[in-house]
């Protein structure tokens, strides 16, 4: 199947090597370590059995009509995206270190970087990182490196997954101070922000829409931070950027995002796409791979990986980050997705999301015992307050109706009370889907 070497090949090869057996080739391994007992199956599955087994496992997942968001979003993935990224030429290529033999891959990375810059209105972008959370961690690290300061202000309504990841990106070290900017009505309290900023602050790090789905006043946050001499790290949902101000328009120094929103499957959390962009003065502080345009010796346009003096394989312990790969195939998906949508499609995607969420919010808020928790503007998700325990309601509706009503927030934000529920509706939700949710809430609250 996967090993082409026959018995005859093996004999010929051993003869060429001058070894009597494969065992002889292993003589540098102390014999006591070789061929130990493994608690593993004696038999294997053939391809057909594997296909069946995997199909059965996939069927043991019982997806519901889902209104979950909270950092990962159900998207319609255009067929052309799936078809193109399945091409073996992309799927099975290696990192384009041999530039001449990898022009296609390098050009797609250049187009990815360009699309990210266009979308986020930033000067430059890298070839991508693991996911939004790790890109956020790397961006705050870069801000700390640039400023030489160790205090980071984060909004209270930052995705808790991002906050946890941020802390590990600082080695859970007590040398750095992470201070929470409190929320008021679900939004960052900018008066408190002004008071908290001081000359030790490296950056203000926030996301918009925030974890509650609300659009932060990014312009005001950014102005306030800059006025105090702090940098701005903004995480923005790329799907929102056809409608809402991109980080570059409010002057963010570093901008990141979860690229899953750009046509990647949910796949239980990965592989996703860490979008990372910055102002040009920080280009040499960017972690990870970067592709650049150059010329070949005949003067013809070509692409290479560049500014590698920042990276681990050159700088080792002096590198900007230890990252060695990028999520190239996911970046390619996003690039193709954006090329299909174009500026108009992106706007339409934004409207489809905002429309579905607004429609759902109106419908659900009309249910007795349910109301919107906050007043602010939201993009494609919002906090609904129900008059019962949201976690129990979720279990009940899931069991009865096969509808996942959203994420109960009680464990993450106890102060919101037991009825807080984060509900998301993207472009995949139809009027009928939302009416089903409304009915389920009406009958079960």
């Amino acid at each position: 199947m996967f090993i082409p070497t026959t018995q005859k090949d093996q004999e010929e090869m051993l003869k060429t090597i001058g070894a009597s057996s494969i065992k002889e080739l292993l003589k540098q391994v102390p014999a006591k370590y070789l061929y130990p007992a493994f608690d593993l199956p004696e038999t294997s599955l053939d391809e057909q059995q594997t296909a069946r087994h995997m199909k059965n496992l996939a069927a043991a997942n019982t997806p519901a009509l889902s209104f979950l968001g909270a950092g990962a979003y159900e998207r319609y993935i255009p067929a052309a995206v799936k078809a193109l990224i399945s091409r073996g030429e992309y799927l099975t290529a290696y990192t384009p270190y041999q530039a001449e033999a990898s022009q296609g891959i390098l050009q797609t990375i250049y187009e990815y970087q360009s699309s990210v810059c266009a979308l986020y209105a930033m000067d430059c972008a890298n070839a991508s990182m693991y996911d939004g959370a790790s890109a956020f961690g790397e961006a705050v690290r870069a801000a700390v490196r640039v400023t030489g300061k160790k205090k980071v202000l984060c909004q209270e309504t930052l995705n808790p997954q991002y906050l946890k990841t941020l802390k590990t990106y600082f080695a859970n070290s007590k040398d750095y101070q992470f201070v929470t900017i409190p929320q008021k009505d679900g939004l960052m309290d900018t008066d408190k922000l002004s008071a908290m900023l001081d000359s030790d602050t490296a950056c203000v790090a926030f996301q918009t829409p925030n974890f509650f789905g609300l659009m932060e006043d990014a312009h005001k946050i950014s102005q306030t931070a800059h006025a105090a001499g702090a940098l701005v790290v903004a995480a923005a949902d790329p799907a929102s950027l056809g409608l809402f101000s991109p980080p570059g328009e409010y002057g963010a120094d570093f901008a990141v995002g979860e690229g899953q929103a750009l046509g990647l499957p949910l796949s239980y959390g990965g592989p996703y796409l860490g979008i990372f962009a910055c102002k040009k003065e920080y280009v040499r502080q960017m972690p990870g791979r970067i592709a650049g345009m150059t010329k070949d010796k005949d003067g013809k346009r070509g692409f290479v990986l560049t500014l590698q003096a920042r990276e681990q394989h050159i700088r080792r312990d002096k590198a900007a980050s230890n990252i060695c790969s990028n999520e190239a195939l996911c970046a390619l998906s996003a690039t193709i997705y954006l090329a299909l949508l174009g500026p108009e499609g992106l706007k339409e995607l934004g409207l489809a999301n905002a429309g579905a969420a607004a429609f759902a919010a109106r419908k659900l808020a009309s249910v007795k015992g349910a109301a919107l928790k906050f007043k602010g503007s939201f993009f494609n998700e919002f906090v609904l307050n129900v008059s019962c325990d949201a976690a129990r309601l979720r279990e009940k509706v899931l069991a009865k109706e096969r509808i996942d009503i959203g994420l109960p927030l009680k464990d993450l934000y106890p102060a919101l009370g037991p009825g807080a529920l984060l509900v998301c509706a993207t472009e995949t939700k139809t009027e009928e889907d939302i009416l089903r949710l409304e009915k389920a809430l009406r009958e079960n609250i």
Binding site: P4, A51, A59, E100, Q103, K300, D317, N322, L340
Partner: protein, 520 residues
């Protein structure tokens, strides 16, 4: 290797046959169409539309508290439309299909890339990962809706524990370097819990991957380099000099980047443990050990795997991969959350681990990639797993034995899954370098080996064929390497100017770095 200029008529014929747009002049024919997507943009074209447009107005309901409007409030709206291409679906498909043809891949080319394990990526893996039940599952879906994925992850962790001789595994890291990061954080948490804050040093051999010292530094450790002995192995005497009560972790790649097994590992691990340090194994080269040796038996406390190397998941042009960290018993409590638990036939995600390091990325891990690795494991019995390592080692030794008469090998011993060669004197005498040999290989349709790594071998050519390459392919590569040596000895310029047949000639990397052009 020179290209003849086609006649004008021939160019027209080519243009017509290719159906190129009118914007392409006949002067472009014979040159690759290297326009960017944005340069093909035609305002007004669309590749996809969204017609399911709901709005608050349609809802008929009235909001009780809160605003529910889909209108972007003043001051929040985007001012300038993003400069993205405007293309039809066919434009997009043709553009990216054309670019795909300008790339080497395992499907089309042999990639003898040392330390990268470019084995074949079985297509059943792709089919499995694409099953809607897996790919459509939200990471925060209720455990009751996720039993299939959780069972898979649980069983994958269990099999990896058995294969590696470790007590527990986490599959959260997204890649090898990300695994190292996770592993060293675990070590840090372990020493913090012991109250041993003086352990600030990480020892790595000079043959280590750059990610090892980079990860150590990223986490605030001080990397300490130890020199490899003449045979490429860790010298226990030198290790002794550097081990102290400041040593947190000894990081070793086994087999190392020269393709050599640390034969004195028992003594080395013992020394590290006696000094109070932990032993970390970089599993980049685990393809040499799979089914043959359990790293846990070697005294390894923490190790990582790379699914995109050992477990046949595709490299995707640079990612996504997936990682994983295996640990011994006493380190299990520090693993990232969530963990997958099984009780009474049901699977649950568990966040209740007070000593956990936390999270290294959002959600679980690169589950879509792990699904592929799991399918691959299902297709291998215990014996078949050993067959992977055996054939990888056989292939590497076969290539080494055929090549070393011309390209001197760094080590005279049998190698494990890869070997390191150097260019012959006949070439270096003409001023030719490893880079020239590598670029010339591209003309013959072979991807170059890993070059100039490990750093301790001058002009290194590092070859790893993997178990999935046939004798014919390897023979053809060997013949090509021998032919290149003859070409270089007689016509050195042919190598210096290589490649000749790729879409571009050698590229100006200096200009690229000096005046970065990173976007349209």
């Amino acid at each position: 290797m020179t290209t003849n200029t086609p006649t004008e008529t021939a160019k027209d014929a080519v243009k017509n046959a290719a159906g190129l747009p009118s914007s392409v002049t006949t002067a472009d024919i014979g040159k690759p169409d290297n326009r960017l997507s944005i340069e093909k943009s035609d305002p007004g074209r669309r590749g996809i539309a969204f017609k399911n447009l709901l709005s608050a107005k349609q809802s008929g309901g009235s909001a009780s508290g809160g605003k529910a409007t889909d209108e972007v409030p003043a001051g929040f709206a985007r001012k300038t439309a993003p400069k993205l291409p405007e293309l039809s679906e066919l434009d997009v498909v043709r553009h990216y299909t054309r670019l795909s043809k300008m790339a080497f891949s395992v499907d089309a080319n042999f990639y003898p890339l040392g330390s990268c394990t470019m084995k074949y990526n079985p297509r059943i893996n792709e089919e499995a990962a694409a099953l809607e039940g897996f790919s459509g599952l939200h990471p925060l879906a209720h455990d009751k809706s996720s039993q299939g994925t959780l069972e898979m992850l649980y069983d994958l962790e269990k099999r990896l524990c058995a294969l590696c001789g470790m007590a527990a595994f986490t599959l959260q890291p997204a890649a090898g370097a990300h695994s190292e990061f996770t592993g060293l954080l675990i070590a840090k948490a372990y020493f913090e819990k012991l109250g041993d804050s003086a352990r600030t040093e990480i020892i790595c051999p000079d043959s280590a991957h750059g990610t090892n010292p980079a990860t150590a530094a990223m986490l605030g450790f001080t990397p300490v380099n130890i020199k490899s002995g003449p045979d490429g192995r860790v010298d226990p005497a030198d290790l002794k000099v550097h081990l102290s009560d400041k040593t947190a972790v000894l990081m070793l790649t086994i087999p190392n980047t020269l393709g050599i097994f640390e034969s004195r590992i028992e003594e080395i691990a013992d020394m590290a443990h006696k000094a109070g340090a932990l032993v970390y194994m970089d599993g980049a080269n685990f393809n040499a050990l799979i089914g043959l040796v359990k790293p846990g038996d070697l005294g390894v406390d923490i190790m990582h795997i790379n699914t995109h190397k050992t477990f046949s998941t595709p490299h995707g042009g640079g990612g996504p991969g997936a990682g994983g960290i295996g640990v011994k018993n006493r380190l299990e409590e520090f693993l990232p959350v969530p963990r997958v638990l099984k009780s009474g036939g049901a699977y649950t995600t568990d966040y209740n681990h007070p000593h956990s390091i936390g999270k290294v990325k959002a959600f679980f891990g690169n589950v879509g990639v792990l699904t592929r690795a799991y399918a691959y494991l299902l297709m291998h019995s215990k014996k078949e797993l050993a067959g992977i390592a055996e054939n990888a080692i056989l292939n590497a030794n076969y290539m080494k034995s055929r090549l070393q008469a011309v390209y001197p090998a760094h080590s005279k011993e049998y190698c494990m899954h890869e070997c390191v060669l150097t260019p012959p004197d006949e070439l270096t005498a003409k001023g030719l370098k490893t880079l020239d040999v590598a670029k010339r290989l591209l003309d013959y349709g072979f991807h170059a080996p890993t070059i100039y790594f490990p750093l301790i071998v001058h002009e290194a050519i590092m070859i790893e064929p993997t178990e999935t390459e046939s004798k014919e392919t390897m023979d053809s590569f060997v013949e090509t390497m021998l032919a290149i040596k003859n070409e270089g000895a007689s016509t050195p310029q042919l190598l210096k100017d290589a490649p000749h047949t790729m879409p571009v000639k050698r590229l100006d990397e200096v200009q690229a770095a000096r005046q970065p052009n990173l976007r349209w």
